[in-house]
Amino acid sequence: MPAAAKADKADKSVSRATKTAAWGKEQELKAYREMLLIRRFEEKAGQLYGMGLIGGFCHLYIGQEAVVVGMQMALKDGDQVITAYRDHGHMLACGMEANGVMAELTGRRGGYSKGKGGSMHMFSVEKNFFGGHGIVGAQVSLGTGIAFANRYRDNGNVCLTYFGDGASNQGQVYESFNMAELWKLPVVYIIENNKYAMGTSVDRSSALTDFSKRGASFNIPGEKVDGMDVRAVYDAGLKAVEYARTGNGPFILEMQTYRYRGHSMSDPAKYRSKDEVDKMRTERDPIERVRNRILERKLASEDEIKKIDAEIRGIVNESAEFATNDPEPDVSELYTDVLR
């Protein structure tokens, strides 16, 4: 058994969903639908990349869907989200339109940044999504600043600040932890531990691989969560968000998750075995888990699920169509938006 999968199963300190009452039909189907949208969207993005329609770097979120979907379900209106460059899933989970996200990937005028940001840099003030950042770790200070503004305004909002296991070794992460705890800022730090930063596994980069303890020297509580189970994510998320919202300061959630694809499109992922990936896909897949739960508990029929699948495929195909036919930005856009 691959080390990663085995370690996860044996680790008693990892939170698995059991705390809140079982989800009803509505929640299970919502989680299924949202995760599937991300999965299909990302597959389509991969395909468009293959056709040369998407350029540059393109980091897919396939495998990690439960993290953003579970966390988003634990939020209230007004809460903010910020993350790094592996951001398509976060945007879709925030309710941003597939068309606008896909059109940004293809660099078209209908994209969320008018085609000027690309895959790694997208924003929606309306949906409280603050990017989309290409510098590993920068979003951690920025998210802490958004939380600072929440406290300054005393508006009761919480900022979810996502970053990777690799980013966890950046200095500004700890500068931010210190200030967040010192000033009791309403921020939840979500470390998406997908076991690798590009080709470097956590054991090769990190002296302390229990990321939930990374806030220990600042007195920030943390929890390890089965990030492949959307319910476990939701349960932990509810608790962490509530903790931050009620003035206790930051909370760290280490999401144990896994990316099925390479770091970006051009990564052949030779640093891990096929077995390891296959094991994760077949035994821990977050979407299959919900699907099975729905069918076992007879919350929906195969047919109903097929209908959702078709609907999602429709949304994704339409976004690809839009992102292909939407014109590139007008050349006059070269000089706009440098200053206000």
Partner: protein, 457 residues
């Protein structure tokens, strides 16, 4: 309709690849995510995953084929009840047009200057009879912050020692007492982190004033200033920007050696998306800082420790603003234009005084804003004098003076009677020894020498 599987591009530069191996055979069922083939590029072997569900109907490119161009159909996937002879779906989107070529400004302005220069903003009239109050630069800066904080509850100041200690250089004196700890915030020594916190707060519409104890330490934070503060508005298509001021003393103080004596004017002035301001007088310090705090863009506000204690007359007005982007003729003249700012103005004015005794009448321009650069004022002066000397404390290579010289060549070459001369700091890290430090910095004598050289007198 059957769906064509195309030869994928697997990196930003891949144009063709080898079809190394088929992992599914004709007739096999495939699900989205199944690996169906392996492809070799010059860099690596990669897997091709199916995106659609169905049956692998026909393999169009057999394994072992070399140099298959990207986007060539390599197989057909069939839906229920379809056969390989059905016409394939041509939903394959077309490749994007070649990237848009950058266009020059409307009037064909040179690429190096980007947009054609905008008209400089108007200076505020100080009504006749306005009382002038002798004020130090230090007090003027403090007054500017206090006035803006009274005016706008979204303005706050953060930095090391700004609150209880009253500022490492006492610029924030009294602010904690008036505005309280919510708005006057002592940070840990954590420049990278608190610059990012400021920018994040700015993204939500707050208006932070981030004080660097000195700009030397802003190098710790330069990623957040350049990559987050300056670029996010552009990368978000105009959605998310930040109104933030990064301020603090810049340049050489005295006898603090290389790590604490550095001019950042040209560093930040290089960056589109930033404004860079650097006043000399107390009046300009006040009026420009107030404008900077109100500006919807990130502003780097470079002060000077040696000037903090200098006294200047400041107009006693309720709301004295100086526009960003507008230089000022500090001393009119006809023989040579001297462009300076901040501490450089002391050398420029002293030189002009000496030169006048030799009947060389220098026009001294106080630049005040480094970006956007008020070329209009410089060019008008150069058209009159035909000669220009720039003065800056920073290093000579790729400095502000170099940029001004280039722009004068672009825009007023025919008016020049002599090459532009730059007076700069010497091209060495700042030495500690008193005699060497003196040699490393510009002086009035060096400005005089340059002015005489360009006037051939």
């Amino acid at each position: 309709m059957p769906i064509e599987v195309l030869m994928p591009a697997l990196s930003p530069t891949m144009e063709k690849g080898n079809l190394a191996k088929w992992l599914k055979a004709e007739g096999d069922d495939v699900k989205a995510g199944d690996v169906i083939a392996e492809i070799e590029t010059d860099k690596a072997t990669m897997e091709v995953e199916a995106v659609d569900e169905g049956k692998l109907g026909k393999i169009l490119v057999p394994e072992g084929t070399q140099d298959v161009a990207v986007n060539t159909p390599i197989a057909l996937i069939l839906g229920e009840g379809e056969s390989a002879s059905d016409a394939p779906a041509k939903s394959a989107p077309k490749k994007t047009d070649s990237p848009a070529k950058p266009v020059a400004g409307e009037d064909g302005a040179a690429a190096s200057t980007g947009k054609p220069a905008e008209a400089a903003p108007e200076e505020m009239d100080v009504p006749e009879g306005t009382e002038m109050v002798a004020t130090t630069v230090r007090e003027a800066l403090r007054d500017a912050m206090a006035e803006e904080m009274r005016r706008d509850p979204d303005v706050f100041v953060m930095g090391e020692e700004v609150a209880e200690y009253q500022g490492a250089y006492k610029i924030t004196q009294g602010l904690l007492q008036e505005f309280g700890a919510r708005r006057v915030i002592d940070t840990p020594i954590t420049e990278h982190g608190f610059a990012g916190v400021g920018v994040g707060a700015g993204f939500t519409g707050l208006k932070p004033i981030v004080e660097f104890m000195t700009f030397n330490f802003s190098m710790q934070a330069i990623d957040q200033i350049v990559n987050s503060a300056a670029k996010t508005l552009y990368m978000s298509g105009g959605q998310v920007g930040c109104s933030i001021v990064f301020r603090g003393p810049n340049g050489a103080a005295a006898r603090v050696a290389a790590q604490h004596s550095q001019d950042f004017a040209s560093w930040y002035a290089h960056i589109p998306g930033l404004k860079v301001v650097s006043p000399y007088t107390a009046a300009d310090a006040k009026g420009l800082l107030k404008s900077a705090i109100r500006d919807p863009n990130p502003v780097v506000f470079l002060e000077n420790e040696i000037l903090y204690g200098k006294t200047f007359p400041v107009p006693k007005l309720d709301d004295y603003l100086v526009p960003i982007g507008k230089a000022k003729i500090a001393r009119p003249g006809k023989d040579v234009t001297i462009v300076a700012w901040s501490i450089g103005m002391t050398w420029a004015l002293e030189a002009a005084e000496e030169l006048a005794k030799k009947h060389i009448f220098a026009e001294v321009i106080d630049l005040r804003t480094i970006r956007p650069l008020d070329m209009q004022t410089i060019i008008e002066s150069v058209k009159k004098t035909g000669r220009c000397v720039t003065v800056e404390e920073g290093w000579p290579q790729f400095g502000v003076g170099s940029e001004i010289a280039a722009r004068i060549m672009d825009e007023a070459f025919d008016y020049l009677d002599a090459p532009v001369r730059r007076v700069t700091g010497e091209d060495v890290p700042m030495p500690y020894a008193a005699n060497l430090e003196k040699l490393a910095l510009p002086t009035a004598a060096k400005v005089i020498e340059a002015a005489r050289a360009v006037t051939y007198r």
